[in-house]
């Protein structure tokens, strides 16, 4: 199939799922529609990957761009969407919300639709709108359970992210203004147009605009210190939503930052833009390390781990060069798979023990044998231990950093990764090998706000299979860097270099 029809399939399948879910209004068919859309999207993205290597293609009157970077973003989103759609079937049935379940799936497919359309947008302004729409749809997924905490999380998410992202709009307007001195008052602000006009932009405005855009989209990515919404939203949504937020959504905003970095390189803005991105990345790692070590909530632990990994991505793109970009992209896919696995495991443990507190989860190997061990393997993987994919991608980012001007960040990253490794796995050691504390009931009444009762026959196959499906490629990617990926990364690096082919 041509890339036009593949893109049409990728965008229309979730849309059809949204409409069908709203039309049929019954939970079981809604599950099926959503899963079918996820499978179709995943297959279409796989088919699109080879097309993207031949260079950027512009579709739909220059509004959509299909290049190696956007297709790579789609691959991450589609993998997470597929995994979490499978997981959602098992997980959401246990919430006893069957009457509203069709609305959940309609929102879920709509969320996937907006997240998939983000990386494809060729117009900078429309890209901003796509990112804003993801927030609006996912807010209602975060507060789907309607508890006081989840509404608090949704409120903070909407306020902080809309306020932050309005800075990105300001930056976009400034870019347009700066460009209008060279191109006249009315032109179409595509990524390519911005890159071509970049050398003629006024450096002061270009730098200001870049910083505004980075802070704006950085809020959405969850870079510290703009990350404050992230742990709340990720920990209060249902587990499949957390996986989508963390594995799929954050990446789409990061792709924008990567493209703007290229613009500021082309504008000759000096070292400041890259230094800013590297500093944000390093600070994210630092904040994540602090909160991971002393964390008490299981899903908040995973959320801070997302802050950490977004920091690694920012470092990779900030270091730049073919190696940095390759490392960041590889890390993006690995993190998407791994974080889905971690949130699935956290959701299983939360339901099985009826608590969100790490302290209440003890003796996992006996309570959840299969998914427990899969989860432990995922925990080892996400802290960057070999032989999993994240080890290789983090190593690549470190190597790229040593070649760049920001070697200090490499040493800092190394120390912080070790701290996170120890802190993260210490929680898992306690959950797996420590006995349940005698005073468990007392703690329960004191601070446990979870109203759900522990579920006996949980997790079932729907909730375990996607964990295995995430772990297998993660292991494979750690042992073997496919040649196809290398070509993909080379294509992205060529596109993102100064004066990249267009």
């Amino acid at each position: 199939m041509s890339s036009e029809s593949l893109i049409a399939v990728i965008l229309l399948a979730p849309l059809a799922a949204v409409l069908l879910c709203l039309l049929v209004q019954h939970p079981r068919p809604a599950e099926f529609f959503n899963l079918a859309a996820a499978v179709v999207v995943f297959l279409a993205v796989l088919a699109l990957l080879p097309h993207s290597l031949s260079g950027p293609q512009r579709l739909a009157d220059d509004y959509l761009i299909v290049d190696a970077l956007s297709t790579w973003g789609l691959l991450c989103v589609a993998s997470v969407y597929l995994l979490s759609s499978i997981y959602a079937i098992g997980y959401m049935r246990r919430l006893s919300e069957d009457a509203r379940l069709h609305r959940f799936y309609a929102l879920f497919a709509g969320f996937a639709l907006t997240t998939l359309s983000g990386p494809l947008m060729n117009n900078v302004g429309v890209y901003w709108i796509a990112i804003e729409l993801t927030t609006l749809v996912s807010t209602f997924l975060v507060c789907f359970e309607l508890g006081a905490e989840s509404i608090e999380a949704a409120w903070k998410y909407l306020v902080i992210v809309s306020a932050g992202i309005s800075l990105a709009l300001l930056g976009t307007v400034l870019y347009y203004w700066a460009g209008s001195f060279a191109l006249g008052p009315s032109y179409s602000l595509t990524w390519a147009a911005l890159r071509e006009v970049a050398p003629r932009l006024d450096p002061a405005i270009a730098t200001t605009a870049f910083l505004l855009v980075t802070i704006g989209f950085g809020t959405k990515v969850g870079l510290a210190p703009m990350h404050t919404w992230l742990p709340d939203a990720h920990s209060e949504g249902p587990a499949p939503v957390s996986a989508m937020l963390s594995g799929a959504l954050l990446n789409t905003a990061m792709i924008g930052i990567a493209r703007f970095l290229q613009v500021s390189d082309a504008a000759g803005s000096g070292a400041l833009p890259r230094a800013a991105v590297v500093a944000l990345g390093a600070f994210s790692l630092f904040v994540a390390a602090l909160f991971i070590v002393r964390q008490t909530g299981i899903k908040r632990l995973m959320a801070y781990s997302s802050v950490e990994h977004m920091g690694v991505l920012a470092l990779g793109f900030g270091f730049g060069g073919p190696l940095g970009i390759a490392g960041a992209l590889y890390h993006m896919l690995n993190h998407s798979l791994n974080k889905s696995l971690m949130f699935f495991g956290a959701g299983n443990a939360m339901r099985a023990y009826g608590s969100k507190r790490i302290g209440a989860i003890r003796g996992l190997p006996t309570r959840m044998p299969v998914s427990g061990w899969l989860w432990l393997a995922g925990a080892v993987a996400i802290t960057g231990a070999p032989p999993f994919g994240l080890f290789r991608s983090e190593l690549t980012v470190l190597r790229a950093g040593l070649r760049s001007d920001h070697a200090w960040a490499v040493y800092l990253m190394l120390v912080l990764l070790i701290v996170i490794f120890v802190g993260f796995l210490a929680h898992f050691r306690a959950m797996y090998f420590e006995r349940a504390p005698a005073a468990a009931e007392e703690l329960q009444s004191e601070e446990d706000i979870e109203r759900a009762q522990p579920l006996r026959d949980f997790p079932d196959a729907w909730c375990v299979v996607p964990m295995a499906l995430a772990l297998i490629p993660l292991l494979a990617l750690g042992l073997w860097w496919p040649d196809f990926f290398a070509r993909c990364f080379a294509a992205v690096a060529a596109n993102l270099s100064v004066g990249g082919r267009s």
Partner: protein, 226 residues
């Protein structure tokens, strides 16, 4: 046509409207009553709509008339009406949870305007635009942005936070009419529409807040920390 090429009469008209919007932002910052707040917001939106029409007339951008009509309709009528309905339903008519008294926030707001002026006159100098309406537009845009953030920071009532975000967006709207009047029509339309969706979302969320969390001020939302 770029901002520097407007005739002097037009430039001074734009300046007047931009400064009027900035003053209205200060009215919002200084008021305790949510209704005053809302009225100031509606007036500001009407001023921005007038500004769009004026830029369209003097700069010869006919599509800006359309934008002006939509701005007046959405931001000047529909949004205030939606928020008024929420106010009526919530039975909160004044801001009770401010962290900073209105008079102190006025002083801080003035300092923020000074900061915005320094930044934009620096940018204006590098572009050789000193004293033009573009620098003023940039100043007002940045000031309204900063004032919006100040409102978000010091006000606790959920409705004040919605209005704070709308002021942020109003600032960008105002600046972009003068700085980049030729920005593609589609983009501005979608952004307008997007705002409507935001407010709808906020409305639903506020209702949830009341029915499930039992509060309307965001300061009470402090269960999730660490």
């Amino acid at each position: 046509m770029i901002a520097t090429q407007f005739p002097p009469l037009a430039a001074s008209l734009f300046s007047l409207m931009a400064i009027g919007s900035l003053l209205l932002a200060f009215v919002m910052l200084g008021s305790r009553w949510l209704k005053d707040y809302l009225l100031a917001f509606a007036a500001q939106s009407w001023l921005i709509a007038l500004l769009s029409a004026a830029v369209g007339y003097y700069g010869n951008f006919p599509e800006l008339y359309f934008i002006a009509a939509l701005t007046a309709l959405f931001r000047g009528v529909v949004l205030p009406w939606l928020i008024l309905r929420i106010i009526a339903r919530l039975k909160v008519d004044r801001e009770l949870h401010e962290r900073l008294s209105p008079s102190s926030s006025l002083v801080i707001g003035a300092a923020l305007v000074l900061f915005a002026f320094v930044v934009s006159s620096h940018l204006g100098r590098t572009l050789h635009l000193e004293g033009s309406v573009a620098v003023l537009a940039l100043t007002v845009m940045l000031s309204m942005k900063l004032i919006g953030f100040l409102m978000l920071a010091v006000r606790g009532e959920a409705l004040s936070q919605i209005l704070g975000i709308l002021v942020l967006e109003n600032g960008i709207f105002l600046g972009s009419q003068i700085l980049v009047p030729g920005m593609p029509l589609l983009l501005e339309l979608v952004i307008l529409f997007d705002l409507l969706v935001i407010v709808a979302c906020f409305g639903v969320l506020v209702r949830y807040l009341v029915t499930h969390a039992g509060v309307t001020h965001a300061r009470a939302l402090r269960r999730l920390v660490g």
